[in-house]
């Protein structure tokens, strides 16, 4: 954002802020700062983003008000039932807040507004309904005023952003595909550029999601095509994952002449090239005569026969991923054509073709462990805050219940955000606002003066600050200045608010230790422990002896699959939060390499889990049952050791063990294949080699992890220290 744009945005926000106070005070509404809060929060760079956030704020306010009225009706005189019901509501809404990122803000409001309304009148419940109504009306008024100003004064629109964003996304996906193609054909070093491109495309995907929400809020055309844009987003995500899985197997294809094995490879890549060339054109609205055609990627049987067992397995794995790549690119082109009106879907829903996602194996809800922890943190903080209030009643009084719960929500929404880092900005901004309250506000005698003061405060806040700093500064302005129609000045009350704010954040810092250490390096260790436990569990459930799987067992499998898929992204986020100065031995590149190796392990485990049971491919399997069993047991032991100690298996010893096992198994395969002769059908052979490729892929990924893990100074991370 340029300085001029920033200046204009700050003027718009300051103007809306002063106006809503003026309207609320003129009409004699309860707590005018409620409308001020709405403006401070929905003031976003573009009109579309503001409209969306404003809508979620208004819609989320209603269930919050209703929940507060219901809780008060059910437990008007019983503090423990009151606490229990409130904590249950807080737990539920905060869980949904982290679980559903698209409607996250709706759940934030449902939780926060409930706490606000519950404490709107402590002496009696007679004004509670009135408070709920005023809260809703003032929120609507704040959102409407800001939206009108944003639309009519220097409007910044999102129109066209979605096309630009989708074309950029398609171009980067094309680069990723071309990097993979060149590596497979031996024209580029393995992994060269892929990590960089992947790091570029992940924020692009996130940005595309945001742009879709924002532009969908201000454009009827985009809103109508939302289903197609969401499909485009889902297909792009699936394509990125498939490309990652495809590229993770290149090391095994190193000694294979892939052009000889796949005679149609050049035609296959030429077709994919045409698709990736057509995509940005279609998305930019330029017409292209290209029509996707189906291409097959058959391997030459004679060439396959010549390959050793594990090489054949690697070819099968690569073929499967390339076929999926073909399906996804065709679906993407089709989707882009529909978006541009060149084709019609007929309104039917189409599958997402996402890799690693099978039909739900269980009807039970499958929670995410970290989401549950976050919700438990918010509910516990609210509950303990309530107890502090009613048992000790320190400065801040009911704020210990309401304010602590609200800030805990913010900490839960952004897990790597450290509560301790918030103390200083809150103390500084509150001290400045306290000075304004003491020295400036008593001098004001008309709304003109007050309006100018409010405008100036918000203008400076928006112009100089951004992100969390801006949010907490807004909070200080609204909480410390405490503007009311009948303004009363009390230095003692405001000094208490100041002390309470600092104490409140210290309390949150203490509470953040409740569910484990919030130190990033400790969280990384904990996440790795969980990752390898899940990996070990899933490997052990790749039924060596097929049998009936109970409902509970299916639920556990789905739970651990979800863990496995979600943990690399969490590891990456927490890895970036580790203080480099405190741990100079562990460079960010080393941590990134560790995360990449974990992600590769996920790809390889998923590929393996998607294959059929090794024991179905007769007559190869019975002969190799014992060898494969030994290997699987070995891999499970390695994962178990890594769960306890991430550096437990040194890479050299592991390589020797795995390679010895590979050679032994390869010899056995040769022996069995020679003996079986023509008895093995093509399908049986493919199944078997896919499973074998899965095992090899996991072994190679495990070696890559061991290599990345051995350069990390784990003992330093394990050391205790003050936060």
């Amino acid at each position: 954002m340029t300085k001029i744009t920033k200046f204009k945005e700050a003027i718009k926000t300051g103007l809306a802020f002063a106006l809503v106070f003026g309207i609320a005070m003129q009409l004699g509404w309860m707590n005018p700062y409620w409308a001020g809060w709405a403006v401070a929060v929905v003031a976003l760079p573009t009109a579309g983003a503001s409209i969306r956030k404003g809508t979620l704020r208004v819609v989320g306010t209603i269930p919050g008000c209703l929940a507060a009225l219901a809780i008060h009706a059910l437990a008007p005189q019983d503090r423990w039932i009151f606490l229990l019901l409130t904590c249950a509501w807080v737990f539920g809404t905060s869980y949904l807040m982290v679980r559903r990122p698209k409607t996250s803000y709706f759940w934030v409001m449902a939780c926060y507004v409930c706490l606000v309304i519950l404490l709107s009148d402590l002496d009696s419940s007679e004004n509670m309904f009135e408070s709920a109504v005023f809260r809703t009306v003032e929120t609507v008024m704040g959102v409407v005023v800001y939206t009108l100003i944003a639309v009519f004064l220097w409007p910044l629109t999102n129109l066209g952003a979605i096309k630009k964003s989708s074309a950029e996304l398609a171009a980067t996906l094309g680069h990723i595909y071309r990097a993979g193609r060149d590596t497979m054909l031996g024209e580029r070093a393995p992994e060269a550029g892929f990590q960089g491109l992947q790091a570029k495309v992940v924020p692009q995907l996130a940005q595309f999601g945001q742009v879709l929400q924002a532009e969908g809020s201000e454009s009827y055309e985009v809103s109508q095509a939302r289903r197609l844009w969401e499909r485009f987003h889902g297909l792009s995500t699936a394509l990125l994952e498939t490309a990652g899985r495809w590229q993770s197997g290149f090391a095994e294809l190193d000694r294979i002449d892939v052009r000889a094995v796949f005679p149609e490879l050049s035609a296959f890549f030429a077709e994919l090239d045409s698709r990736f060339a057509a995509l940005p054109q279609l998305l930019a609205g330029r017409s292209t005569g290209y029509l996707p055609r189906t291409i097959l990627l058959d391997a030459d049987p004679a060439e396959l026969e010549r390959l050793a067992g594990f090489d054949r397995a690697a070819v099968e794995v690569a073929r499967k991923e390339m076929e999926r790549l073909e399906e996804l690119t065709a679906a993407l082109v089709e989707c882009a054509r529909e978006l541009e009106g060149h084709a019609a879907s007929g309104g039917e829903a189409k599958p997402m073709l996402a890799p690693g996602v099978k039909d739900r194996a269980t009807r039970l809800p499958v929670p995410d462990w970290d989401h549950l922890r976050s919700a438990a943190f918010v509910a516990a903080t609210t509950g303990v805050g309530f107890l502090i209030w009613i048992l000790f009643d320190p400065p801040g009084h009911s704020g210990w219940f309401q304010f602590s719960g609200t800030i805990a929500l913010i900490v839960a929404a952004v897990p790597p955000l450290r509560a301790s880092r918030l103390i200083a900005p809150v103390a500084v901004s509150s001290a400045i606002c306290l000075a304004i309250y003491v020295f400036v506000m008593p001098q004001l005698s008309s709304f003109l003066g007050l309006g100018l003061l409010l405008f100036t405060c918000m203008f400076l806040n928006c112009y100089f600050l951004s992100g969390m700093a801006r949010f907490f500064s807004s909070m200080a302005i609204l909480n410390i200045l405490q503007i009311q129609n009948q303004q009363v000045y009390s230095f003692a009350a405001m000094a208490n608010v100041f002390i309470f704010l600092v104490m409140g954040f210290t309390f949150l810092f203490v509470m953040s230790y409740l569910l484990g250490s919030p130190r990033p390096e400790k969280v990384v260790l904990h996440l790795l422990d969980r990752f390898f436990r899940s990996a070990e569990f899933l490997m052990s459930r790749k039924a060596p002896e097929p049998g009936r799987v109970s409902g509970l067992e299916r639920w556990r499998i789905v739970f651990h699959q979800r863990q496995l898929r979600s943990l690399p992204a969490k590891l990456a986020a927490w890895g970036k939060a580790i203080d480099r100065k405190r741990f100079p031995d562990n460079a960010p590149e080393q941590i990134q390499a560790l995360v990449t190796s974990v992600q590769t392990l996920v790809y390889r485990i998923e590929q393996f889990l998607e294959t059929g049971s090794v024991y179905r491919a007769k007559p190869l399997s019975p002969e190799l049952r014992e060898d494969v069993k030994t290997w699987q047991a070995g891999i499970e032991n390695i994962f178990s050791a890594w769960a306890r100690k991430p550096e437990a298996e040194p890479v050299a010893a592991l390589r020797q063990r795995l390679e010895t096992g590979l050679v032994r198994l390869e010899e056995r395969i040769e022996e069995v294949v020679n003996r079986a002769g023509g008895e093995v059908s093509r399908e049986e052979g493919e199944n078997f080699f896919q499973v074998l490729g899965g095992y090899r892929g996991i072994s190679e990924a495990a070696l890559a992890y061991a290599g990345a893990a051995q350069v990390i100074n784990w003992s330093h991370w394990r050391e205790e220290r003050f936060s």
Partner: protein, 70 residues
């Protein structure tokens, strides 16, 4: 030792001596923790967050005896 509580005023507003001693205690504990971290001595503690609270309490009591009776 003087057992009469000290009084602090800011602009005519009296502050409780325990608050002043508490702030001093927390600041000193923070400084001590910083030093212990810097010289990697914090690794010898089983649970540093609890040690921090203990240090803050000890410093507050010490400040109460030496500087700000409460």
């Amino acid at each position: 030792m003087n057992s009469i509580p000290s009084e602090f005023t800011v602009g005519g507003v009296y502050l409780p001596p325990l608050l002043v001693a508490g702030c001093l205690g927390v600041l000193l504990a923070y400084w001590t923790a910083h030093l212990l971290n810097r010289y990697r001595l914090s690794r010898f503690f089983f649970y540093p967050p609890l040690v921090f609270v203990a240090l803050a309490v000890l410093y507050t009591v010490a400040a109460g005896y030496v500087l700000v009776p409460f």
